[in-house]
């Protein structure tokens, strides 16, 4: 292939990211909240910052919004820096052309629903008839049209949430930021709103940066997920990648329930592209490295749903073991089975079945591709 003398030209196939966050650091005094975060959001993409409370996800979002001033790093929107510590640029929040849905909804109590939604248009000096038209259409989209004349105090939580949403997108911002917008709703409403939000985001085709600590929400709503921990990015990927191929023990543990198995590498037993791990008590398990480097000491992650339990010994040689049932906990749609694998305790999640008596000897099997090698040094 002939090498291009000018190096590769600005790529036309991949569009420029809509939001770029580079080396973002934010300290409150000497306390670090964000310690060097990098990610991009592509146009029209929904990217979710996911992590436990205190991991810096909300701080990162607020820094993108312009509500917090970072200590270091650079944030670009449409290629233009809105914050840069090196170039001493800090564009004020109201000048960044973004919009945001707040966790508390922040519906102004002294205004009607209509006035709340119209605010962003009034700021932009849109004419009266056009305001009415746009506000009505926005309220229509969130099914709140008939509530225009009400005050915030007369709305339920779900209704306030819809108003907050309409207010955020009515003036056609280029980017929507969401700060845990569903966390104050009850479980059922949250599940409905999740789908509605996703639909709306697709219809509007708007770039979204979304913050949540709720795993299901993140998996259901995102194009890509950035898992954060202690002010750092732990892993970035599609929901499927994050779920199926966790990078570290933290991600494996935080994203759904996983069994973590530690042991040492037995390169002599590696075969068929599988990596062999032997636990301290001599149990042998085959897994896949997915391009990660297997050190002498290693850890694999197996999702609880991928462990299969059977009374009869299943066919196949690898990754089949006799195990002893410790107890079975019925949880409705599934049963959680605690079992002894040698002297290590594992948890398997099976679709609801006849409860197996404690102490019974059964068989456990797992496909090697479900046994995921974690990167070394990422505890």
């Amino acid at each position: 292939m002939p090498a291009s003398p000018q190096g590769s030209p600005p790529s036309l196939s991949t569009p420029r990211p809509h939001i770029e966050v580079e080396g973002l650091e934010l300290y409150y005094g000497s306390v670090p909240a964000v310690r060097g975060v990098n990610f991009n959001v592509m146009p029209g993409e929904q990217l979710t910052l996911l992590g436990p409370s205190g991991c810096g996800k909300t701080t990162t979002l607020r820094a993108v919004a312009g509500l917090e001033q970072p200590t270091a790093g650079e944030i670009r929107i449409d290629g233009l820096p809105v914050f840069s510590s090196a170039r001493k640029i800090n564009v004020r929040a109201e000048k960044r052309g973004l919009s945001m849905v707040f966790q508390s909804y922040a519906i102004w109590p002294h205004m009607t629903v209509f006035d709340n939604v119209a605010y962003g248009l009034q700021v932009r000096k849109v004419g009266g008839p056009e305001i009415k038209d746009k506000v009505d259409r926005a309220l229509e989209m969130v099914q709140m049209r008939e509530f225009g004349g009400r005050r915030a105090s007369q709305l339920s939580g779900g209704q306030q949430q819809r108003v907050a949403l309409a207010r955020a997108f009515v003036f056609q911002p280029s980017v929507l930021l969401f700060d845990e917008p569903l966390s104050n709703l009850d479980a059922k409403l949250r599940a409905d709103m999740r789908i509605e939000l996703r639909d709306l985001q697709h219809r509007l085709g708007i770039t979204s940066l979304y913050v949540t600590h709720d795993l299901e929400e993140a998996l259901a709503m995102s194009d890509r997920i950035v898992v954060m921990r202690d002010g750092l990015v732990e892993q970035t990927g599609t929901p499927d990648e994050i779920y199926s191929l966790p990078h570290s023990e933290f991600v494996a543990d935080f994203i759904g329930s996983a069994n973590l198995i530690r042991g040492h590498h037995r390169p002599d037993l590696d075969c068929d592209g599988l990596t062999a791990l032997e636990t301290a008590t001599g149990q042998l398990i085959y897994g896949m490295a997915y391009g990660r480097k297997a050190g002498p000491e290693m850890t694999v992650s197996v999702r609880t749903v991928h462990l299969r339990i059977s009374q009869e010994r299943p066919a196949g040689e690898r990754n089949v073991w006799p195990v002893k049932i410790e107890k079975t906990v019925f949880q409705g749609d599934f049963s959680q089975i605690h079992l002894y694998w040698g002297d290590q305790r594992l948890v398997a999640r099976c679709a609801a079945m006849e409860p197996i008596a404690a102490g019974r000897d059964v068989y456990m099997a797992v496909e090697p591709r479900r046994v995921v090698l974690l990167s070394p040094g990422n505890r």
């Binding site: 509500l67 001493k88 640029i89 004020r92 922040a106 102004w108 109590p109 002294h110 605010y119 700021v123």
Partner: protein, 560 residues
């Protein structure tokens, strides 16, 4: 492209600088005078030293008096406060809501009015109570209000309301499940009170005790009215006396003021420590619905205690002043021809009074209006802007809390006498004094409103693209408006009743009403003074009615 340094920051630090100058400039001059051991006629001082402080040892009686009165008043205030707080927050006494609101009335009546009324009631010779005592065959006098305990009694009644407020808040904010848990385990009611309730509230009550004691140390009006006739001085009245006498003992007074201020500062520091370290009582701001104790028949006994308290702290003083103001010579059993309206006529006709009253109203209007802008900006700066150094600004702004207003005014007087702009002995100086001494009151009131309003309401407007000015106009100020109006009225009321600072700073042509009432008490007749005090009370009462109506509206518009 925005800039790294915003105009907002510049404006913020500008306001903070004004506040710092207001507070620190007089404190500097107070300390300068306290350490000035040179010729008192020459300024700036020619020599510095500690002689003024060591000369304080010549006044052991004043220190002893102060300690005794403050201690007695604190003990009484705590007793009244905790008893009333317990009755009104934890028992099913009838009319709790109403009584709880009425508990603030003695405070609004002012310690000065309380002292005047109780002086009429309890002087050993001419006091009404002693008159009745003798009419029923008693000998000598039943009570003597011109004693340390009399002074402490009036201070506790009229300045001790804060003890009730603090202890009631404490009892309300205690999670009832803490006590219920004890009872469920099987502990008796008494055991629960002894082992759960009391240990939980002890740090809070200790905190209240320290706070009230500090306040009593700086108390002025009651000791002035009730102590001066028998030359019983506490530290504040002694300072006043030293400044007013000829030749004035400015330097010793300054040393006394500086010491008092140091002690009060230490007390308030201790208060904060106690409150912070003893915070295992859940003062989360979350109001629990306290479990009410069904006290059965006892509730009528408790009701009469409440009624008795209101009687001695509100009805009796007001009735006494009214009764006295309608007489030519105030006696307990007047004849028909002794009744007259002349006192009110004289009061309204006196030029001095009319100008004092209109000066007071003018000043109160100015203080409230300028104060609301200054203190509103400061409150926003401290609690919302997160500018670096806002903690220090808060510290400076709350500083006057630890300094008796009389001592502060002394510093101001001393500072402005040498200031090139001739505002000494004018209303301008009083305006500056009021704006300074009411900084903690105003900032705290407005901060209370600001903190109630979720920050994201402002941030959301910002995210909608609104500029600072547009946000302020459409979101921040409309949301704050009811609170700002309430704060305006509070400042107005506080200014009209102000005594400690005004009495030192008002000039012959800039009289204000409260010190004029004191002058009238010592200079003219008690009957005329009673009429003056009632007129002032009426003005304050009108303002309070407006205040209540406004705060009702705030409540109606409360933000969830």
């Amino acid at each position: 492209m925005g800039s790294w340094f915003s105009a907002q920051k510049v404006a913020g630090y500008g306001v903070a600088a004004i506040a710092a100058v207001l507070v620190l400039y007089p404190v500097y001059f107070l300390l300068q005078a306290a350490f000035d051991v040179g010729d008192p006629q020459i300024r700036p001082p020619t020599a510095y030293g500690l002689d003024n402080f060591s000369s304080l040892l010549q006044y052991p009686q004043i220190m002893l008096n102060t300690l005794m009165v403050s201690l007695a008043a604190t003990v009484m205030a705590l007793m009244f406060g905790s008893l009333m707080a317990w009755i009104l927050t934890r028992t099913n006494v009838p009319g709790r809501r109403l009584f709880e609101q009425l508990m603030a009335v003695p405070y609004y009546l002012t310690p000065l009015l309380g002292a005047l009324a109780w002086s009429l009631l309890g002087q050993p010779e001419s006091g009404f109570i002693n008159g009745i005592w003798r009419a029923f065959g008693g000998e000598g006098h039943l009570i003597d209000i011109n004693t340390p305990y009399g002074i402490a009694w009036v201070m506790a009644l009229f300045e001790g309301s804060v003890a009730f407020v603090m202890i009631a808040a404490l009892m309300k904010s205690m999670d009832p499940s803490l006590e219920e848990a004890s009872q469920v385990i099987g502990a008796s009611r008494i055991r629960t009170i002894m082992q759960i309730t009391l240990p939980l509230v002890t740090p809070g009550i200790l905190g209240a005790a320290i706070f009230v004691f500090a306040e009593m140390l700086g108390s002025f009006a009651v000791a002035l009215v009730l102590g001066l006739p028998t030359r019983y001085y506490v530290i504040t009245t002694a300072i006043y006396q030293m400044i007013q006498q000829y030749p004035p003992k400015i330097q010793v007074a300054a040393a006394m003021g500086a010491s008092l201020f140091a002690v009060m500062w230490a007390m308030l520091y201790a208060y904060r420590r106690v409150v912070i370290s003893g915070s295992y009582v859940t003062i989360t701001g979350k109001a629990f619905r306290p479990r009410l104790l069904d006290v059965g028949r006892l509730r009528y006994v408790l009701l009469s205690i409440c009624l008795l308290y209101l009687f001695v702290a509100v009805i009796l003083p007001l009735g006494t002043l009214f009764f006295a103001s309608l007489q030519k010579i105030a006696v307990v059993f007047p004849t028909a021809e002794n009744f007259t309206l002349d006192n009110f006529r004289t009061a309204m006709a006196m030029n001095a009074v009319r100008s004092a009253l209109s000066n007071s109203l003018l000043l109160a209007f100015g203080t409230a209006t300028i104060g609301i802008v200054l203190m509103g900006l400061l409150a926003w700066l401290i609690y919302r802007s997160r500018l670096p150094g806002s903690g220090l600004i808060e510290y400076i702004v709350m500083f006057p809390q630890a300094v008796p207003r009389l001592v502060f005014a002394f510093g101001l007087m001393w500072a402005w006498v040498v200031f090139p702009i001739p505002i000494y002995a004018t209303l301008w100086l009083l305006l500056i004094a009021y704006l300074t001494v009411f900084l903690p009151l105003g900032v705290r009131t407005i901060a209370g409103v600001i903190l109630q309003i979720d920050k994201s309401l402002e941030e959301c407007a910002q995210m909608c693209g609104a500029s600072w000015a547009f946000r302020a106009r459409t979101v921040t100020i409309p949301l704050l408006r009811p609170g700002l109006v309430a704060a305006w009225l509070l400042l107005f009321i506080a200014s009209v009743r102000e005594l400690g600072a005004s009495i030192l700073l008002m000039g012959p042509h800039s009289k204000v009403i409260t010190p004029s009432i004191v002058e009238s008490w010592f200079g003219t007749s008690s009957e005329l003074t009673a009429a003056l005090a009632l007129i002032q009370t009426l003005v304050v009462a009108l303002a309070i009615i407006v205040l209540v109506v406004v705060t009702r509206r705030v409540g109606a518009l409360s933000v969830d």
